[in-house]
Symmetry: C2
Subunit: 241 residues, 2 copies
């Protein structure tokens, strides 16, 4: 379990309707990273149909607008050392399986965990929030590649489902999102899941958790009916599970 | 690669709007299984929020209506021997990861493959169609449990995406289905994917494949634009990839 030095900002998604890439998050980045951080190490491994260079260029815009430089890990001579020396770590969205596989094969999981436990701020969005959880078992993504394990960074003691919505195409017979999460909870009854609607995020400071956004989170656990939790500190209980 | 004795009926889904469970498939079952089969071995391992007994009872109705008895594998003293002695095998939908994990841990994958290669008819719907593919890498399901490998029965030389639709909640920023399949094709450029809309199925007889339904299938391969294929024999090329 991570130490109480951890600092995490875990966003549901990267783009709100009508806004630019991470535009909704710029002020949040500034507030979270503060004045002590000057550069962010960006991990683009979730990107599939975009080059890592292009992905890093996209991510650089909002970070520079917030006052931070961005270095992409794929540009480093030694990815592990780049993690060890990072002032802050940002992990972008895309395909969670590809992200976790790349992190694991590069030996980065214990090194990122060690840095976050030492107090280095971690920012994730979408797949980058999924890999901060104990496992990637609540991702929405297609398993297009096989990671060595579903075990992830385990920086928080609960699961996130990003892009949470229970909207469903009319007449479609496939499972809804809440069906899928309920299936997870049936086979993993002790592990709570926070469904984070787009435009929302959680911020973790040590053992304190706050939930920010314009819509309630949906919390699933075991066979209990899902409960709505309004923005604020109502998700604090997830830190002691 | 399977021998030319294989006989498979792989359905996108189990229920059409306004119809009962597998009601749309009863006549198809009769036509496919014919008069030489009297009983079907049903594998309910994809079921999560339903007991295997209840799942088998649900599946029994359409098979009995088509004139076949149904035995559930979880009722057998020896699941492997039940496969070895089955006249026909039916694999139901639900969670593909749980299905594959259960099959693999029970040592059933090579035994089912051997039976199908020997000419025993295989019927799958949804997750049951996914596991007939080379891997489960084109499932829509949440990875709620971790199978020992993503490698599946490999009874056909291409991937199926069941419940295919590109409908998307308005304003939602998550990937569409075609985005997800395109990501698969980017990292697996040699493996074609057939997106089967609900209410459709493929039937394989040896090396012949026919596609049946009311709507075109969507075929994805590598960086090519997806192509629509009307019902008929237009998917035959997938058998020689």
């Amino acid at each position: 379990m991570p130490s109480s030095n951890r600092r995490l900002l875990l966003l549901s998604n990267s783009r709100n309707a009508g806004q630019g890439y991470l535009e909704h998050a710029r002020d949040v980045f500034r507030d979270f990273l503060g004045a002590d951080v000057s550069r962010v190490l960006f991990i683009p491994y979730a990107g599939i149909r975009i080059s890592y260079d292009d992905y890093a260029a996209n991510a650089r815009t909002p970070f520079e607008a917030a006052g931070y430089g961005l270095d992409a890990i794929h540009d480093a001579d030694d990815a592990g050392r780049a993690v060890d020396e990072a002032e802050a770590i940002a992990v972008g969205g895309g395909n969670t399986f590809h992200l976790l596989k790349s992190m694991a094969e590069g030996g980065l999981l214990p090194r990122i965990r060690a840095r976050v436990e030492a107090g280095v701020p971690y920012i994730g969005w979408s797949a980058g929030s999924n890999v901060a959880c104990p496992t990637i078992c609540t991702t929405n993504d297609m398993p297009i590649v096989e990671p060595p394990s579903f075990e992830a960074l385990n920086l928080i003691p609960f699961q996130i489902n990003p892009h949470y919505t229970d909207a469903h195409p009319p007449g479609h017979q496939g499972e809804t999102r809440s069906d899928r999460i309920a299936e997870f909870c049936t086979v993993n009854p002790a592990m709570p899941v926070a469904g984070l609607p787009e435009g929302t995020w959680v911020r973790v400071e040590g053992d304190r958790l706050s939930y920010v956004g314009h819509a309630p989170a949906l919390v699933f656990r075991g066979e209990e009916a899902p409960s709505e939790v309004a923005p604020g500190d109502g998700l604090q209980f997830l830190m002691s599970t």
